[in-house]
């Protein structure tokens, strides 16, 4: 089991050493700016991070740089978080963006709705910085695994 996984992991690590991958572009949306900054700090070393307090500002930020991963709270001041996820997921230009929910709203109903809307991951607040960083990396590797780069196997 671990032999197969280990082999692949080693390969990916090896490749990224040879040809430096561009940093993962991450957009964090959270009206709780203190939390957003804390999360940003956790992944700053490996990712290019932008932070916005609401969906409107997020859409504006996306016109400047399209993120690889959106991290969003479900409680947003301007639109419903689930609706926002649906919009991203159902728009052809943005549907390949990874979506991670980091929220204090964590009922089973919220979880199911978020995943059905297109979320890839769901972390319940309060989130430890280390756990957040790991999940970002795992998600990014997962995407590379499921949808291999057109330039390589």
């Amino acid at each position: 089991m671990s032999a197969g996984g280990g082999d692949y992991t080693a390969r990916m690590t090896g490749r990224s050493n040879q040809y430096q991958r561009p940093a993962l572009a991450v957009l964090i949306i959270d009206p709780d700016t203190e939390n957003a900054e804390r999360l940003a700090k956790a992944i700053n070393a490996r990712c290019a991070v932008a932070v916005t307090p609401n969906a409107q500002a997020a859409l504006a930020a996306m016109r400047i740089r399209m993120p690889d991963l959106i991290v969003t709270e479900l409680d947003l001041p301007d639109v419903g978080g689930i609706d926002f996820i649906k919009t991203i997921h159902n728009t052809p230009a943005t549907r390949n963006i990874l979506l991670m929910v980091v929220t204090r709203r964590a009922t089973i109903r919220d979880k199911i709705a978020a995943f059905q809307a297109g979320a890839d991951d769901f972390l319940v607040k309060p989130v430890e910085a280390q756990l957040f960083e790991i999940h970002v990396q795992l998600l990014s590797r997962f995407r590379q695994t499921i949808q291999p780069s057109p330039f390589g196997p």
């Binding site: 089991m1 082999d7 992991t9 972390l123 319940v124 790991i134 999940h135 998600l139």
Partner: protein
């Protein structure tokens, strides 16, 4: 032996519960019968990911066996739903899938599965995987997650080979 005697002496001790989630009814029947008869587990079932998540919170099983390809909420999403919540992140999870390539296995592990098994699965293999997953500690899971995410600072990639 000792365990069996203890079990008999302590009537309140319940059988361990396994939740099986798969959209193939024939497979669900086969697996749940096997887990019940051979493994002595209480088995709960769900035929899609969303129902599986509801069942999980209703019954808080000791272990979950989940398929990857399912309508609505897939197996990867199901695993992450549990792994992202401190209340459920240490749940033993076996991913069972017809997707039998190495990269599918890696994807399952990256999503947070404890073990990835290919279909068709032998009941003996599934039982062994369940037992092993239930013995994993939080430290072990964290260690593996760090390794898979590349966050282990002293980790050195294998030399040579395919690149």
């Amino acid at each position: 032996m000792q365990d069996q005697e203890n079990e008999r002496a302590d009537g309140e001790r319940r059988a361990q519960r396994v939740l099986v989630i798969d959209d193939d009814p024939a497979l669900i029947t086969l697996i749940s019968e096997g887990l019940r008869l051979v493994g002595g587990y209480d088995v709960m079932i769900a035929t899609d990911g969303a129902t599986g998540l509801e069942r999980f919170y209703e019954s808080l099983p000791d272990c979950v066996v989940v398929d990857v390809r399912m309508p609505g909420l897939n197996g990867y999403q199901f695993v992450r739903a549990l792994r992202g919540d401190p209340a459920t992140m240490e749940t033993p999870i076996i991913v069972l899938s017809a997707l039998a390539q190495d990269r599918d296995e890696l994807a399952g592990m990256l999503a947070g599965a404890d073990t990835y098994l290919f279909k068709p699965v032998k009941i003996a293999d599934l039982l062994a995987a369940i037992e092993k997953a239930m013995m994993l500690t939080a430290d072990k899971r964290l260690e593996r997650k760090q390794w898979l995410s590349g966050n282990v600072s002293d980790y050195t990639p294998a030399e040579g080979g395919r690149s």
